[in-house]
């Protein structure tokens, strides 16, 4: 195999610009005559907007415009998989989490924009706040979206689960819970927008992990052909999945279109945490069977993924988690179901591992508990069940190349100075 790159130290093309501070991230860019945006966000995690009074805020000297849903009736919802996320919440519509946008404040400087946020008066009709997915699926729970709180259900089946449990000498049945997590890319969401009145092209300088999908989603939301939207990636400042979703893009586009001036929007760190995606909090119920000699016979799971207020990549993430329910271990009989659930938490989306990280906590814990109960060294227990060439995954993919898990376990044990436990 070529040794040109693997294992070699390659100097990155952009690292010089970055060490001298000349790499330009979105917040480092500016244009003559640029205006600054701030977003008025939801005042309650689940409520119907009854009144939005911007009159005081509009009077503040330096305020150029405040855009509300009433100004943009043609604009449609957006979203990565399902278009369930509104650009601005209108009167009579629902805010579903604290990050929902109510108004775009456009001002001559950042300070005036923040001041104006505090002058906007909001009246809402509060609804029950659902912060727990278990509550969300109860019959009497208020639906957060029209079609109820179960956004997606995925199933998995391999072999015969009953037979598998019948062969087991030991069955371990446990529930695991993981928490939400923010990616915290060090650059917060930030971008600039310029509208060219002649060509009617909107240009956005902002990070995205799906440049063409973002363009397409923006175009459908704004009712424009794709060629009217141009996205330029500045230096990104970390992503980790958090930049798969649209953040500043649509608000910038609207502000640039309606003011015909260059505009800039940079979130605060708190705003980034409240508004943009999270790693899904999972509830994993795992039931695993093994023989006395330490071979896995059956693995059954139920996964409940809290996707928060909007779908984002949720259905794909939770399904991916389900498919990885046994980790890198051979199990002939597998059965599983995964629910992606809407709640009023900040929406969850892609984050490094895409659902598999949460599952790892569950399956590795199961493996430790089984090894302990069976009195088998946990490294040996893992090795004798680990995938190899020819193994089949829970969704019955046959692994026919590059299966390194046994080597990895052995190397990890060596580095940790692991001594086989004899009990």
């Amino acid at each position: 195999m070529s040794k040109m790159y693997v294992g070699e130290n390659i100097i990155k093309v952009d690292s010089k610009e970055k060490v001298i501070g000349k790499a330009l991230y979105p917040d480092d860019l500016s244009f003559e005559g640029m205006l600054y945006l701030k977003i008025k966000r939801a005042v309650h995690p689940h409520a119907i907007l009854r009144k939005l009074d911007i009159s005081k805020a509009e009077k503040l000297p330096g305020i150029v415009k405040i855009i509300t849903a009433a100004d943009i009736p043609w604009v449609k919802n957006f979203g990565l998989i399902i278009k369930d996320q509104p650009v601005l919440i209108g009167i009579g519509q629902k805010m579903r989490y604290m990050g929902d946008a109510l108004a775009i404040v456009i001002a001559e400087n950042k300070e005036i924009a923040s001041q104006a946020l505090r002058l906007i008066e909001v009246e809402v009709e509060k609804l029950e706040v659902i912060s727990d997915p278990i509550r969300a699926i109860e019959k009497d729970a208020p639906p957060i979206h029209n079609n109820g709180n179960i956004l997606a259900t995925h199933y998995l089946e391999k072999g015969n689960i009953e037979k598998g449990f019948a062969q087991a000498d030991l069955i371990v049945d446990k529930e695991y819970r993981t928490s939400f997590l923010d990616h915290i890319p060090l650059q917060v969401e930030s971008g600039l927008g310029v509208f060219d009145a002649k060509t009617e092209v909107i240009t956005i300088w902002a990070a995205t992990q799906w440049i063409h999908d973002t363009q397409a989603d923006m175009a459908q939301a704004l009712g424009l052909p794709k060629e009217k939207i141009r996205i330029i990636q500045p230096a990104i400042g970390g992503a980790f999945g958090k930049r798969e979703d649209i953040s500043v893009h649509l608000h910038l586009a609207l502000a640039a279109m309606l003011t015909k001036r260059p505009v800039k929007l940079t979130y605060t760190r708190e705003e980034s945490m409240i508004t943009q995606s999270k790693r899904h909090a999972f509830i994993v119920r795992a039931k695993t069977g093994a023989t006395k000699t330490g071979y896995l016979t059956a693995w059954q799971v139920e996964v409940i993924g809290d996707t928060g207020a909007y779908a984002s990549s949720g259905p794909a993430v939770v399904r991916k988690g389900l498919y990885h329910c046994t980790g890198p271990y051979n199990v002939p009989n597998v059965k599983g179901v995964a629910y992606t659930i809407y709640t009023n938490n900040t929406y969850a989306g892609a984050m490094r591992g895409f659902g598999t990280t949460q599952m790892a906590f569950a399956y590795e814990s199961q493996m430790d508990i089984l090894a302990f109960e069976l009195g088998i060294d946990p490294v040996r227990f893992r090795l004798q069940n680990a995938y190899e060439i020819g193994s089949s995954t829970p969704n019955q993919q046959i692994l026919n190349t590059s299966v390194g898990v046994k080597d990895t376990i052995q190397e990890a044990a060596r580095m940790a100075n692991w001594k086989e436990e004899s009990r």
Partner: protein, 171 residues
């Protein structure tokens, strides 16, 4: 309230500057928006991340927690002030070579923290390096390569110093 102006003077990256500002402007904003030195970054605005790190009066400082007028009379170094005559500082070189730069957003602050650390302690051990950069968060690298970079820079700087001493002796 915010329209009240005052004039402050300071030295930044070796240059004397006189500039009008307000009592409500953060030094970070003055550096980025008024002086257009955008190498100094904002990651949190609350002293937690170190992206806004500068060296002010020979000390490592989070510029998001300093008012512009507090910098009156100060001597300031930002990332743009490192290196001489178009040559990179050995710390910058080491960051590039060891792969300590990923998204690069933490890099300016991290390099300045390393600079300050090596000035005060030319031969830091791993624990001392960790403490020296403990006010700077990096979300990409996992720090390992940053620590390697600082180690490498420390070695090179010591070598450089010894070579210079050697030259002096020869003269």
């Amino acid at each position: 309230m915010s329209t009240h102006k005052l004039t402050i003077e300071f030295i930044i990256n070796g240059q004397k500057r006189k500039i009008e500002t307000t009592p409500f402007t953060r030094l970070l904003d003055l550096i980025r928006d008024d002086l257009h030195l955008t190498g100094t970054k904002e990651g949190c605005g609350k002293g937690e991340c170190g992206a806004c790190t500068i060296i002010m009066n020979h000390q490592l400082v989070a510029s998001c927690l300093v008012l512009a007028p507090q910098a009156d009379g100060a001597e300031i170094i930002t990332i743009e002030g490192l290196g001489e005559k178009g040559k990179l500082d050995p710390i910058q070189e080491a960051f590039i070579e060891t792969g300590a730069v990923q998204c690069g957003f933490c890099t300016p602050g991290m390099v300045l923290a390393a600079k300050k650390l090596l000035e005060e302690n030319p031969h830091p051990n791993i624990e001392e390096i960790k403490r020296g950069i403990s006010g700077n968060l990096c979300r990409c690298t996992g720090y390992k390569k940053i620590i390697e970079a600082i180690n490498l820079a420390a070695k090179r700087l010591t070598q450089q110093l010894e070579e210079e001493k050697g030259k002096e002796k020869n003269v």
